[in-house]
């Protein structure tokens, strides 16, 4: 294909008036904005749950046992007649909260340590890298289970355990990104000009590491929500809380219930799936767009 590629190369070269690159908003694409809108909607509903005109999630016999969806009872009722829509909205609160706290923990610790390791190198980097390898060698779910079991099944500790899981992957990415940027001219320039390490880290490196990390944050949020759901599904998440995982387990564990009214499980599954998919897609788009920009530098 030597010939064809020279042909392509020469044509690309001839194009003189190259169209202005589309704006970032446009580059992200419709899918990104739809996904973001869905995530915003879910978050808004979760925040507003107490003042929304929806049934009390604990009140039974609002509908018949496993009654199907109908106007007014849009997601139908579960096996005790509770409103599935109301349960799904209230259930999102713990799912999202745990996901959010976990990501904050994972990113503040993993990010800081990773950037520091990538910037200072040396023994510190070696030790940190080994700790990351060790953390990644733990089957993730087992580690989370171990921590929650020992510390207690509260929102805080569940979030902490999931946050610990995020430290190694986040830290590795932060370290790798820092290594890339620490070699760049603008950092070298700052160093020659006598900027302090602290100043270089905060002013020069952080902004460049944050964008790829924000993509990871969205992906990580999805992973954390799934992880909490998994713990809840196994009945080892937040003890007195009600989240999507618990709801899906409640409605999906009995053959009889599934036979009579699968909607009680399928609706929360659908919402969970769409939420995770939206987070993944938005994260992927950010990464793609900014990776491409990176190449143009």
């Amino acid at each position: 294909m030597a010939d064809a590629s020279t042909i392509d190369g020469s044509t690309a070269f001839e194009v003189i008036d190259e169209p202005a690159p589309p704006s970032v908003a446009r580059q992200l694409g419709l899918g990104f904005w739809l996904s973001s809108a869905f995530v915003v909607l879910v978050v808004a509903l979760a925040l507003l749950a107490p003042i929304l005109p929806i049934a009390d999630p604990d009140q039974t016999a609002i509908g018949g046992r496993l009654e199907g969806p109908r106007p007014g009872l849009w997601f139908g009722a579960d096996s005790t007649g509770r409103d599935v829509l109301s349960l799904t909205i209230w259930g999102s609160r713990i799912s999202l909260l745990v996901g959010f706290i976990a990501i904050v923990i994972g990113f503040s610790i993993g990010g800081t340590v990773g950037i520091a390791a990538g910037y200072f190198r040396g023994l510190f980097d070696k030790v940190v890298s080994f700790i990351f390898v060790t953390l990644l060698s733990f089957p993730a779910l087992i580690l989370a289970i171990l921590i929650t079991t020992l510390l207690g099944r509260t929102v805080l500790w569940v979030s902490v355990s999931l946050g610990v899981l995020a430290i190694a992957p986040v830290g590795r990415l932060a370290r790798a990104q820092t290594l890339v940027f620490a070699e760049r001219e603008f950092v070298t320039a700052a160093r020659i000009l006598g900027a302090s390490d602290r100043r270089i880290l905060v002013k020069e490196l952080l902004p460049n590491v944050v964008i790829p990390m924000s993509a990871l944050a969205l992906l990580g949020m999805g992973i954390a929500i799934v992880a909490e759901g998994t713990l809840a599904f196994l009945a080892i998440s937040v003890e007195d809380g009600f989240s999507w995982g618990r709801q899906i387990q409640d409605a999906g564990s009995s053959v009889r219930d599934l036979e009579e009214g699968p909607h009680a499980a399928l609706f929360p599954i659908g919402v969970l799936f769409l939420t995770v998919l939206s987070l993944n897609y938005a994260g992927d788009r950010i990464r793609d767009v900014f990776d491409a920009k990176e190449l143009q530098l």
Partner: protein, 317 residues
């Protein structure tokens, strides 16, 4: 052989760190006596229980310094002595040797299904890169990656075991056939995210391999398209997939907890979930160790496989 030696040292270090971490967690988070002895440490009082407690302190060397205890415990572990389960007093090693084969079968089943499905799928979409089939494949695999395993388990169970009575609702160990049939849904649920991961990686690598000159050479030999794909393009394209194969073993272990619990498959995953719920620490600890060792070994084997895939990769290089 330098490479192998280096990896072996790393493996041992990782296993030591993981076990140390797990052991430390059990000793420092909460009361170690409770963690070792189980509920009776707290609940029961009276002189006869004081004696049990004293006995336990002695048995488990609780008065020794932490590192000594860790060493002793590790020695026991290495000899296959995992202690006794709180729940029924059976030895943990007998529980594990009963449950582990089931889990390993399930994991092999899932990996087999994923490879059998993802490889032809990737070959198909790579040979039609950027055409409709390929674009649709990308969307489908993105969706497959997004489904939480537990949600997928419920949907699949509802669809194939409840709504349409294709697969049994219960694990059935009677014959090899019933075992394979009843383990199909759990294995498939575990396989779905793997299939998507493998398909994406293999497709990307295949597309770049297909640009290589030696592919043109093979086609110029007059070999049929599929044969060139399978015999020439596939093997040099397997690297990313293989790397992830090792890492995914970790995801499979996590997934087996969910799938085994939900589908009532009597494996180590279901066992550990039960153990956690009833605070049965010796079992939990043993599973952590066994699972980590398996995970590390699989990743080591993956490294060895590289040299098979590409004769240019030399271990002493």
């Amino acid at each position: 052989m330098k490479f192998v030696a280096g990896r072996l040292v790393q493996m041992v270090l990782v296993v030591l760190s993981v076990t140390l971490l797990a052991f430390a967690a059990l000793n420092f988070l909460g009361d170690p006596l409770f963690n070792i002895l189980g509920p009776i440490a707290d609940e029961a009082s009276g002189p006869e229980f004081d004696e049990v407690r004293a006995q336990a302190r002695a048995d488990f060397n609780l008065d020794e310094p932490f590192l000594v205890r860790y060493g002793l415990w590790l020695g026991d572990m290495a000899q296959g002595d995992f202690g006794r389960s709180f729940a029924n007093g059976t030895t943990v090693s007998s529980e594990i040797s009963r449950q582990l084969p089931v889990t390993i079968q399930l994991m092999i089943y899932a990996q087999l299904l994923s490879v059998l499905i993802s490889v032809p799928w990737a070959l198909w979409s790579a040979s039609r890169a950027n055409r409709f089939v390929d674009k649709a494949s990308t969307v489908v695999s993105f969706g497959m990656l997004g489904i939480p395993v537990f949600a997928l388990a419920v949907v699949v169970f509802w669809l194939f075991a409840v709504r349409f009575d294709i697969f049994p609702t219960r694990f059935d160990d009677e014959t090899i056939r019933t075992r394979l049939v009843s383990m199909f849904l759990p294995a498939m649920v575990l396989a779905v995210p793997l299939i998507a991961t493998y398909q994406r990686l293999l497709r990307t690598d295949l597309i770049s391999t297909l640009q290589e000159d030696f592919i043109s050479v093979a086609r110029a030999k007059g070999l049929p398209r599929w044969r060139v794909l399978v015999r020439h393009a596939l093997r040099p394209s397997l690297f990313s997939m293989l790397t992830v194969f090792g890492i995914q073993t970790g995801a499979l272990i996590g997934g087996s907890l969910i799938v085994e619990s939900y589908f009532a498959v009597p494996g180590i995953g279901a066992g550990v979930v039960e153990a956690i719920i009833r605070d049965d620490f010796p079992v939990v600890l043993a599973v952590v160790v066994v699972v980590t060792v398996i995970f590390v070994i699989v990743n080591f084997l993956v490294d060895l496989l590289y040299s098979f895939l590409d004769p240019r990769v030399q271990f002493d290089g």
